[in-house]
């Protein structure tokens, strides 16, 4: 009895701390979303770009790239989803570098708020907008002929995986944004390396058509694992001829990659935040 009575008292300051972290994170997330929606860039990013990608890829490449025995439009859609989730790097890096550039990070640091609030708030708000983007893309996908064949459970698993991947990439974006500290540079530094990474995967074409060395790279590319897992969960046809472990077990591989990326980049981003902010 005594132990039960004393422990809440001892825990109180700690849980108050957690409550503060949560509250500060939500305040920052609120201001990112609230302010972001007023910026035309964000609106284009959130509403125009996903529609454009789906329609463009479906109609321009959809008919041009024949993949044997596969409905290419269905094959393509998971690739486009994953590409767009990977682009989460951009809003995170631009957002944080902009805050740094404009002195807001300094201001936040002079307030008695949780130190993790600024980055966590960024990640939460960008994750929310990636969720909206994903929904818009899926609706567009359905309109152009994409279908889910595996039922609701795996479908929700697929959506969860896409968001988990976006979450992981947001930490990469946070690190880039804080390292660069200039929104213009961050905008390109955030994305430029992503294109080769995405194209060197199974997102748009089967790796079997690539030269052997490139093919191996593509098979072990995290993007490929996520895309393959997406196809599997959504029940979209894909012919996996590769023996590489991630291609044989795409869902566990995809989860592992997401966890690995987060575990590596989240602490790096937080460390960079502390260092960058005290320059």
């Amino acid at each position: 009895m005594t132990a039960v009575q004393t422990s809440p008292g001892e825990l109180a300051p700690k849980s108050a701390g957690l409550k503060q972290v949560f509250q500060d994170t939500m305040v920052i997330a609120w201001r990112n979303i609230r302010g972001g929606l007023r910026v035309p860039d964000t609106q284009i990013y959130m509403f125009i770009q996903p529609i454009m990608f789906v329609v463009l890829f479906a109609y321009v490449f959809g008919g041009a790239i024949p993949v044997q025995g596969v409905n290419y439009r269905e094959y393509l859609m998971a690739g486009i989803f994953v590409q767009t989730m990977a682009f989460a790097v951009a809003p995170a890096s631009v957002g944080l570098s902009d805050d740094m550039h404009k002195g807001l990070i300094d201001r936040f640091r002079s307030l008695p708020m949780a130190r993790s609030g600024v980055i966590a708030g960024r990640v939460i708000s960008d994750l929310a907008s990636q969720f909206v983007v994903l929904i818009i893309m899926m609706i567009c996908g359905v309109i152009v002929g994409w279908r889910v064949h595996n039922g609701i459970g795996p479908f929700l698993g697929g959506v969860g995986l896409m968001l988990l991947f976006a979450f992981a990439m947001l930490w990469v974006g946070a690190l880039i944004g804080l390292a660069v500290g200039n929104p213009q540079v961050a905008a390109s530094a955030g994305l430029i390396w992503l294109f080769p990474v995405i194209f060197l995967s199974n997102a748009f074409v089967p790796p079997e058509t690539m030269p052997t060395v490139v093919q191996t790279m593509a098979e072990w590319n995290p993007i490929s694992a996520i895309v393959a897992a997406g196809r599997e969960l959504f029940g979209n046809e894909s012919i996996i001829v590769s023996d590489a472990w991630p291609m044989q077990h795409p869902v566990p591989a995809a989860l592992l990659w997401c966890v690995l990326i987060t575990v590596v980049f989240a602490p790096l981003a937080v460390r960079k935040y502390k260092a960058a902010a005290s320059k």
Binding site: Q23, R31, G35, R38, V39, G103, D106, S110, L111, P112
Partner: protein
Amino acid sequence: MNAIIAEGLTKTFGSGEKAVKAVSGVDLSVDEGTVVGILGPNGAGKTTTVRMLTTLLPLDSGRATVAGHDVVREPQAVRASIGLSGQFAAVDENLTGRENLWMFGRLYQLSSKEAKKRADELLEQFSLTDAADRPSKTYSGGMRRRLDLAGSLVIHPRVLFLDEPTTGLDPASRLDLWDVIRERVSGGATILLTTQYLEEADVLADRIVVIDQGRIIAEGTADELKAKVGGERIEVVVHDPDMLHRATEILQRGSGGQCQVDEHTRRLTVPSTAGSKGLVQVIRDLDEQQVDIDDIALRRPTLDDVFLELTGHKAEEKETKDDQQSADSVATQGGAK
């Protein structure tokens, strides 16, 4: 009680040849409920000092306490007791003025309701009510500055740091801010403000600290500093060069001080202790003796005068001294290794 104590603060940016000694040994002690003005030219180290005292920048060496809390060991307690308005307005430009203040209130851990109430009060106090619901990106520079200042007053901070608070404000807003500052002080707050204007420090500050190149070069009340600089001067531009001699005699007689004569511009400068009365007397005497003048003024000491007097160099001559200083710091670093 001292609201701010700093001992031997130093900060060097960069290392090796590029090292800049931004602050090299600043000591401060500010009584609770008083205003201290930090005066200094560009690059003197004002902002760096403020950033160290507000927990934004780690100290290279030294020790500082703000509102009774050590800035290194208890930064969060310091943050809960201070308000900071940095040199450049830092507000979220996509949020409205009201939203910005609400956000700062929340991050000061006020409840949503309290934060809303404070936002309304501050918008009123800083004459931003009309613009309150526009994104702050549409504000003029001065309005943004006012919003930023309002943000530093969301709680009633025990210690307020204002880095060049009136730069960019129009005269009316400047006077308003001076009122706000006085009001806070009468409410018991301690204020550290930096400024480039001696006049501002003169009006607001109980004590003034003059720094240059990271060092305190003078300290005291406005009057004490002015006395060091030599107080007010009367400046006369004579119309006719032939009258220079006669005018000099009149000025010397009036003040008892040494009259400086610049024959080229026909400008005479003489120290004056009698204020505007002295000026009136000089005008009368000159008129009586039929000396035509183009211009006459009672000139108060400026920051430039303080510098000329205290350091023997003008603010603009900084460049050369800077080079020399960085050479020094390299030498010291090399020696230490």
